[in-house]
């Protein structure tokens, strides 16, 4: 109990210190590095909050992919030279903004303390209905069955984000390969990692996907790991990404949400409600959707990190 509290306090203090470091940092690079460290501490905080599914996702997406995305962006901006900056607010304005933000924090903190006890929630409802989902992991049950619509829409949002990012490319290069090209490295640490890790990563991702039905894990975590492996190989210049015009690439991104929606519509035809799964086949159906969705989400996440096709020279 005491040990747990000590860990919590250390985590919270560390995370708070890093967050303050982020906004005090003079260089963007420092801020990003501190932010990544902050994300890793948060992943531990999620473990302490008994949210292992979220912890995995936070580590993989919140710290990992976001960190890579931001570092790569800073790298490209540093080479390009000019990042547009907006005017800083004056001293008085800054003080007022600071006071305003402090007020929001205090009000929010008070609200958190004033939440009703015992806490209302849906844990009992989930427990009572989990058997019908044929799944052991309640979070996966919520994501795929009770709130399947949110998951479906979110997968569609990722497709939309890829379209949005690609649409930001200049006309001259938009049909090229996503992101700035990286030179191939044949030896050195980057090549070592790029050759050694992906097989392990893929095994881990498939494992996490597979156990996700009954234990912490699932498609988002698996997809994030797969995306990270893809990015590693890409940064080492070992693979060429197909151009944005490539049909197989586009079909890969769209397949997961399209299949999910098709199954949802089949549920409408057979069972009379969108996203109603066929009785007795709930778990197999969900597993099929999760596998295809994981592949699509992984592709979308990796492409989102790579960014719009650009003609930047290699670093």
């Amino acid at each position: 109990m005491i040990a747990g509290l000590a860990v919590d306090v250390l985590l919270a203090a560390g995370s708070l210190g890093l967050a303050l470091g982020v906004i005090r940092a003079r260089r963007v690079f420092t801020a990003i590095a501190l932010f990544i460290a902050h994300g890793l501490l948060l992943a531990l905080a999620w473990v302490r909050l008994d949210a292992l599914d979220v912890a995995l996702t936070e580590a993989a997406i919140g710290a990992g992919l976001s960190g890579v995305l931001l570092l790569a962006a800073r790298h490209r901006l540093a080479r390009g030279g000019s990042e547009r900056t907006t005017e800083a607010p004056g001293r008085v304005a800054t003080i007022f903004i600071g006071l305003g933000c402090a007020c929001i924090t205090v009000a929010l903190g008070y609200a958190v303390l004033a939440l009703p006890k015992p806490a209302p929630g849906l844990a009992a409802e989930v427990a009572a209905n989990l058997a019908a989902t044929e799944l052991g992991n309640p979070v996966t049950g919520v994501l795929m069955v009770f709130r399947g619509l949110d998951t479906l829409l979110e997968a569609a949002v990722l497709v939309l984000a890829v379209i949005g990012v690609w649409s930001l490319a200049p006309d001259a290069t938009w049909r090229g390969t996503p992101g700035a090209p990286w030179p191939a490295v044949t030896d050195g640490p980057r090549a070592l990692l790029a050759r050694l890790l992906p097989p392990i990563g893929i095994v881990v991702a498939v494992h996490i996907l597979w156990v996700g039905a009954d234990a912490p894990g699932g498609k988002f975590q698996a997809a994030a790991i797969l995306a990270a492996m893809g990015l590693l190989v890409w940064f080492a210049g070992l693979v060429r990404v197909p151009p944005t015009a490539s049909w197989p690439l586009r079909a890969t991104i769209a397949a997961g949400p399209a299949l999910f929606m098709a199954i949802g519509l089949a549920g409408l035809a057979v069972e009379g409600a969108f996203l109603a799964y066929p009785e007795g086949l709930v778990k197999p159906t969900i597993l099929i959707v999760e596998f295809v969705l994981a592949a699509s989400v992984a592709a979308a996440l990796a492409l989102l990190v790579m960014g719009a096709p650009s003609r930047d020279a290699p670093p």
């Binding site: 919590d8 948060l42 919140g62 303390l113 844990a123 979110e154």
Partner: protein
């Protein structure tokens, strides 16, 4: 106990992230601060989830699932913002040449 502590941490992160987003001058810096703000929001949600444990679950799975969805959506938002910033910088290069 953990729930309250991390809920309060979330409240602090919201304030810090918001401040950084409002006073920041470099777009990339503001995007980092947006992510701090987002992590604070998710922590508050996580505290709510932890408090709602019961019926054999250590925490309420519904808000946990909602947080997962939210994390992925927030990441997609970050990538869009970064892509815009990069495009803006690239455009300036073109103007200069």
């Amino acid at each position: 106990m953990s729930a309250t502590l991390f809920g309060l941490l979330g409240a602090a992160l919201v304030g810090i992230g918001l401040f950084g987003m409002l006073v920041g001058t470099q777009p990339l810096m503001r995007i980092v601060c947006f992510n701090l703000l987002g992590s604070g929001v998710f922590l508050v949600f996580g505290a709510v989830a932890r408090r709602g444990g019961g019926a054999g679950f250590a925490a309420d799975p519904v808000p946990q699932a909602v947080i997962l969805t939210g994390l992925v959506v927030a990441f997609a938002a970050t990538t869009l913002a970064v892509a815009l910033v990069l495009r803006l910088a690239g455009n300036e290069d073109e103007d200069r040449h």
